[in-house]
Amino acid sequence: MNINSKKIVPYFLVSPYIIYFLIFIAFPVVFSVVLTFHKWNIISPMQYTGLTNYVHLIHDEFFLKSLGNTLIFLVIHIPLQIIIALFLAEILNQHIKFRGFFRAAFFLPVIVSGVVVTILWQQLYGFDTGLLNRILIFLGLGRVGWLVNPSMAMPSIAIMATWKNVGLYIILFLVGLQTVPKNYYEAADLEGATHWQKFKSITLPMINPTIFMVVVLSTIGGFSLFIEPYIMTGGGPLNSTLSAVLYIYKQGFFYYHMGYSATLGLFFAVLILGVVMFQKKFIEKDK
């Protein structure tokens, strides 16, 4: 093989990706921005509309509702996730038998399709015949309108999402916990520290990066919420479970407002990037 072809080799190797990137990433991003200035329903020709989509965006109450819903979801989901995952990871980090079994059990919901989890929990949350309410009645408490009460619907989805994903974060926290040098704990034991003190001063700071990662991943997950509200509630009741992506989907593939849908997509993408960067500054600063 001569030297010339050697020089070209890397470019051959990378070229499929470059072509892919240009067609499926770069062009869509540019076209997305262009689309936000037009009105288009796929079957008719595109119409230039200037800033109309953006103006509409600001006045759109469903859009604001979807932002609010996402916030409610994150505010419940993220702390719940961290507390439960960290707690269970701490337990698993001790010397226990059958750790593999417990780990596998907690992790099972993570790999199962969100569709399965949603259909399953839709039944569990049923008002009359759902398992949860039947247990509540058995305990002498009243029924809860998990999915039919507009104030409960999004929290219910947040709880389900926590149940589904906590296994993954347990694993991540386990990895993080195991990086804490044992002698730190030994030194603290010598000074007579309690378990809680050890946890607060040694464990928490050391796993800060992991906590940050959990927050970021959960945030991205929250903004990507689609299949759960789509199957469970269709966005209701009273649009309390209308998520960002569900609204984009509805505008684009139910009403075929391609231009407006692209505007929503652009906005949410920028928002997510902004939030993640903000979290990076805010949480990582806490070292």
């Binding site: 329903n41 079957i43 008719s44 008002f127 966005g235 209701g236 009741p237 009273l238």
Partner: protein, 432 residues
């Protein structure tokens, strides 16, 4: 290594090649493709029509298939339009969708075809023809079949409540509901049987079975949309919302979704239902012994005068512009809807063809003798309304459904405010 490069380049060009090869190439102008719905009886009818036609016209044949299965036939048609793989003739198009496709320029203007105008005026009432005429003056659809929504009632229950006739007005409906509720409160204070039921769904088409027929009944067939503006912000819509809201607030209608382990009407769990003629054969097949039912018009406000209209869920026939021979397509359609074949359709599918004088025409009298319940629908067929000839109707119904949920189901808004908000949003929609 060279092989890889070649493969990749080939892949890229192959896909680019596919873009240019969007069209189907030359079509034979003497052979047409017809899509029917995928309702079993309609498929049978289509087969009957197509076979008959092909026998009589061996040089100008038609082949048919049911619309491909998907989430909904509307989505399949849209995908076909987008992918330019539309059939020549399609007979399951919801009247409300036609305007969107006409706007996009994918439908043939039928009034430009020879023999269309004369035939259509001889088959249909002039108000029907007006209903399907687009704002640009052209006609893009052939009115084919309707399924009017009426009030189905359990004869025994009505009799048991001491009523000579099923309720005709809102107050009659309310008082019958109250009586029925009183008898059906169980020991825990929960109601377990209701006078009526409508699915508590926010899906846009659910309104075809509650709000929209009631609105048409109350208003004498008034439009929802006119001149690209909301036309429903009137006292009729408010009265309908009020009436429905009351039904849910008083627990005359069940607020939670009743799961259908078996048909809730046939089991007596509900006494009435807003539904169409398709219910008849289902009910006859599954009803328990001694069960009797019949149909009457939708309830109207107490001070209502004149005939009672309703929604008829019209499905019409269209010709796509991709058709190589529109005149031939029209001749085929004309054959499909001429009198004898309309009768065949009625017999095979129990759906009402949208033609005039259905109940007086002697050709149909035998059928109605054998199917007496259908007479109610034939009578109602004179006073039905489909949809207004404007685009984006799905969104209009969706907007109304959102307000419906807030006002009627959750009682969070007054009927007046809900209608006002809905009208505002619809106007905003058409302004964009």
């Amino acid at each position: 290594m060279i092989k890889w490069w070649v493969n990749i380049v080939f892949l890229v060009f192959f896909s680019l090649f596919q873009i240019s090869c969007g069209s189907r190439g030359e079509r034979n102008p003497n052979h047409l493709i017809y899509w029917s719905s995928n309702n079993t009886q309609e498929i049978e009818f289509a087969r009957y029509i197509v076979n008959g036609w092909n026998k009589k016209n061996p040089s100008e044949t038609v082949s048919f298939q049911p619309v491909p299965e998907g989430q909904s036939s509307e989505e399949i048609i849209l995908a076909a339009v987008v992918g330019k793989t539309t059939p020549d003739i399609y007979s399951n198009m919801w009247q409300g969708d036609v305007e969107d496709y006409a706007h996009a320029g994918v439908l043939v203007a039928l009034d430009t075809l020879k023999g269309f105008k004369d035939f259509i005026y001889s088959r249909c009432d002039s108000n029907v023809v007006k209903e399907v005429t687009s704002p640009d003056g052209h006609i893009y659809q052939v009115p084919w079949k309707i399924n009017p929504i009426m009030l189905m009632y359990n004869k025994k229950i009505i009799h048991h409540l001491g009523l000579k006739n099923p309720p005709q007005t809102y107050s009659q409906f309310d008082s019958a509901s109250e009586k029925f509720k009183d008898e059906n409160i169980d020991k825990d204070g929960y109601v377990d049987r209701w006078f009526g039921y409508s699915e508590v769904l926010v899906t846009w088409w659910q309104r075809f079975f509650d709000f929209y027929p009631l609105y048409l009944a109350a208003s004498g067939g008034a439009p929802l949309v006119k001149d690209y503006k909301a036309a429903f912000d009137n006292e009729y819509a408010v009265e309908v919302f009020s009436f429905l809201r009351n039904l849910y607030a008083n627990d005359y209608f069940a607020k939670e979704r009743l799961s259908t382990r078996q048909d809730i009407f046939l089991s007596g769990t509900i006494a009435t239902r807003f539904t169409g003629p398709w219910e008849i054969s289902h009910a006859n097949k599954f009803k328990p012994k001694g069960f009797e039912f019949n149909f009457t018009h939708m309830p109207v406000p107490d001070n209502h005068k004149g005939p009672v209209y309703t929604y008829c869920d019209p499905k019409n026939i269209v010709i796509f512009k991709t058709c190589p021979n529109a005149q031939l397509a029209w001749d085929f359609i004309k054959n499909m809807i001429e009198e004898k074949n309309d009768l065949m359709f009625l017999k095979m599918t129990n759906q009402i063809p949208r033609r005039k004088n259905l109940e007086t025409d002697s050709l149909f009298s035998d059928y109605f003798k054998d199917n007496p319940k259908m007479i109610e629908f034939a009578r109602q067929a004179k006073y039905v309304k489909g949809t207004d000839p404007y685009p984006n109707l799905t969104e209009v119904f969706d907007i109304i459904s959102q307000e419906y949920e807030a006002c009627v189901i959750y009682g969070k808004k007054s009927p007046q405010k809900a209608i006002d908000d809905a009208a505002k949003q619809v106007n905003l929609l058409y302004m964009k």
